[in-house]
């Protein structure tokens, strides 16, 4: 029974990683940039949700939507201001900018409101416990998982069935050719950032409700781990990010369950390095050879 309980714990944690990883994987797929600031968009989303619930007294769903909307705009702003001028710069320059943006968001928020944590109110969602054969599953865990899956299905639909999704895939495949075919590359990239950031915002609100405590540096570690999840599933592949996130959550839970909870964060990075060395295309990726 303990093992099943641990799997449940892991899946709840993994769903949050998965939601953040979806944004990572989309952005990387289209502009080949590790958007370090993505974890901080997640944090901003969490704070927006917090203020929507406490100050504006809104319900969970409206807080979630407000947070997603705000993050979408925020993500586009980041892209337009910081990343767009660097489209043709080197990868290193882009990566350093991403680190800079991440530090700026974190410290900007600390400057505005201080570094102290904030606690989500306890009564946002009814809290029920389901006891199934001695395994207790909270209604929140189920909610997290279902929200993640619903969002992933919507995302999959958008990417594969809509015009903008087609444009995204085209830009991701070859942005020069896409441009020649009349696709507005700039708008497509902005749309990608908007969608990815909205997902991060949703993850932020869900995180707040599930883990209560939020603070300006909360996005750093989940952000990095979500990147690990994205790499694990094969970067640029949407179902891959989902599976990678869940898998990483479960791995972490099992490590803790074995009594090595202090090694948990280390394991995520060991997984990352092993994946990068032995399976750089990820679980779902196609192997690509670099051509000269």
């Amino acid at each position: 029974m303990e093992l099943i309980q641990q799997l449940v714990n892991g899946i709840s944690l993994g769903s949050i990683y998965a939601l953040i990883a979806l944004g990572y994987t989309m952005v990387y797929g289209i502009v080949k940039l590790i958007n370090f600031a993505h974890g901080d968009v997640f944090m901003v989303g969490s704070f927006v949700g917090f203020y929507a619930i406490t100050v504006m007294d809104l319900s969970f769903i409206s807080a979630l939507l407000i947070s997603m909307f705000t993050c979408a705009i925020f993500g586009v702003l980041i892209e337009r201001i910081a990343y767009k001028p660097l489209r043709n710069a080197t990868r290193i320059a882009a990566l350093i900018t991403a680190i800079g943006v991440s530090l700026l968001i974190e410290n900007g928020l600390i400057y505005i409101r201080g570094a102290q944590p904030e606690a989500y109110p306890n009564n946002v969602l009814p809290m029920d416990k389901l006891d199934i054969f001695g395994v207790s599953i909270s209604s929140q865990s189920i909610l997290i998982l279902s929200v993640s899956i619903i969002l992933m299905i919507i995302l999959q639909f958008v990417v594969h069935k809509t015009k903008i999704g087609k444009a995204m895939r085209a830009v991701s495949f070859d942005s020069e050719a896409a441009k020649l075919m009349g696709i507005n590359v700039n708008n497509t990239i902005s749309a990608t950032f908007a969608i990815g950031s909205a997902l991060a915002g949703a993850a932020g609100v869900i995180f707040g409700i599930y883990y209560i405590k939020i603070e300006p540096l909360m996005g750093v570690l989940p952000g990095l781990k979500a990147f690990v999840a994205a790499v694990l599933g094969g970067i640029g592949i949407i179902p891959g990010a989902m599976v990678g996130g869940l898998l990483l959550g479960v791995i972490e839970a099992l490590v803790s369950a074995a009594g090595y909870s202090l090694w948990r964060d280390g394991v995520a990075f060991i997984v990352l390095i092993l994946i990068l060395i032995f399976l750089p295309q990820g679980l779902f990726g196609k192997n690509k050879r670099e051509k000269v």
């Binding site: 944690l13 600390i110 416990k129 207790s136 803790s256 909870s261």
Partner: protein
């Protein structure tokens, strides 16, 4: 050609360093002109506290208490002089605490440093105090090593609070005598000397009472997901959980534990003492939890009530134990400066050491030979999210 580059490197190095040396000179003259501590009518004391970062709630409380005490003392002055606090924020980081103390001692030339609220950050300053022969007085760092490491007394280091072993022992006695627990689990923050110190003392005292430790688990500061480890604790089936951590994680642990159906009594130390613990965990999850603490604002002692009233008037909130100890530290230091006569660091050290029966909010202060106060501890229970006074235990 290429060697010239090196010339350039070193030239620039010397230039910039020269500029640095130049500006050193400037600020040095200005600081020595600005006022040294022993002349003039102010006495500078340093405060190296956690004003931001992970344990900011403690540092800020202690700073509030300290400021209140100094303001009160300055109404009358000490030997015709006023006290001035020079604050340094160590950002809850040990390396920052060290360099902060170096700055206070050498740059601001303070006569004494009020050390950090947490043990780790105070330990980081001990050597600075010893090397520069400036007294370091910590309000709330409870780790024994601070004043006495491996049998060697740090003669410039003092504290206003009792030490970890005492707190851990009190908790263990409470668990076995009052709760009647035979088995206990310990869930410790392995990033904190404080937490490990309490856990070790609890374990020793609890086993001495015939109890059994059935699970020993650990987390690190800033973790957010404890469910997996809590599930492990649950399956070890203890009757009591000792959780000597700090408020941020404790709040989350309690909440997640209750959600996972762990209805056991939890107990911790003064690290829980922050309003945040109630905000994070919620009143419901705090049911059936206890802490050992330095004082209770509900204690009816007149000195305590006067302090609580003054603090409420100034800051519009109820003082926690960190504020009380910060306040006491102000009075302890002022008392020593008064008795020292010339307010030199060496005389203050001596006066701090010779303290006897000083009446403070957190009890009567006497030191043992290790510079550790002998004081009473209070046990509090959380009822409806509020600390209620349970008992007071004398050493």
């Amino acid at each position: 050609m290429k060697k010239k580059k090196l010339a350039g490197v070193f030239l620039s190095l010397s230039l910039v360093a020269g500029a640095l040396a130049g500006c050193n000179g400037d600020s040095k003259t200005s600081s020595s002109g600005g006022g040294s501590s022993d002349s003039g009518d102010t006495i500078k004391i340093g405060a190296n506290l956690e004003l931001s970062g992970g344990t900011a709630s403690f540092g800020q409380s202690a700073a509030d208490g300290l400021k209140l005490a100094i303001d009160e003392i300055n109404k009358e002055g000490i030997n015709g002089k006023k006290l001035e606090i020079v604050k340094v924020d160590n950002k809850s980081d040990a390396a920052e605490a060290t360099s902060g103390s170096i700055k206070l001692v050498s740059q601001d030339k303070v006569v004494a440093v009020v050390g950090s609220a947490t043990s780790t950050n105070t330990l980081a300053q001990v050597q600075v105090a010893q090397d520069n022969k400036v007294p370091l007085l910590t309000p709330t760092a409870t780790n024994p090593d601070i004043t006495n490491k491996a049998g060697k007394l740090n003669d410039y280091v003092f504290r206003t609070c009792f030490i970890d072993p005492f707190q851990g022992t009190v908790a263990a006695n409470f668990a076995s005598d009052e709760i009647g627990a035979k088995t206990a689990a310990i869930y410790v923050d392995s990033a904190s000397d404080y937490s490990k110190g309490l856990a070790a003392a609890f374990k020793e005292a609890f086993t001495a009472k015939g109890g059994k430790i059935v699970a020993e688990e650990a987390y690190v500061t800033k973790d957010t997901d404890f469910r997996s480890t809590l599930t492990r604790i649950k399956s070890a089936k203890p009757e009591f959980v000792f959780l000597p951590g700090y408020y941020e994680e404790v709040g989350l642990i309690l909440k997640q534990a209750r959600e996972d159906g762990i209805d056991l009594p939890f107990m911790g130390g003064d690290g829980w003492d922050s309003p945040k613990v109630v905000e994070i965990a919620g009143a419901e999850a705090l049911k059936n939890t206890y802490i050992t603490n330095h004082y209770s604002p509900e204690d009816e002692d007149a000195k305590i009530q006067d302090f609580v009233a003054a603090f409420k008037k100034e800051y519009n909130k109820t003082p926690d134990a960190f504020a009380a100890l910060g306040y006491d530290t102000g009075y302890y230091l002022a008392d020593a400066i008064k008795r020292s006569g010339d307010a030199s660091p060496e005389k203050i050290r001596q006066a701090l050491e010779e303290v006897k029966d000083l009446q403070l909010v957190s009890g009567t202060l006497n030191l043992d030979e290790n510079h550790d106060p002998i004081k009473s501890a209070t046990i509090l229970e959380y009822v409806d999210g509020k600390q209620t006074f349970k008992t007071k235990i004398n050493p």
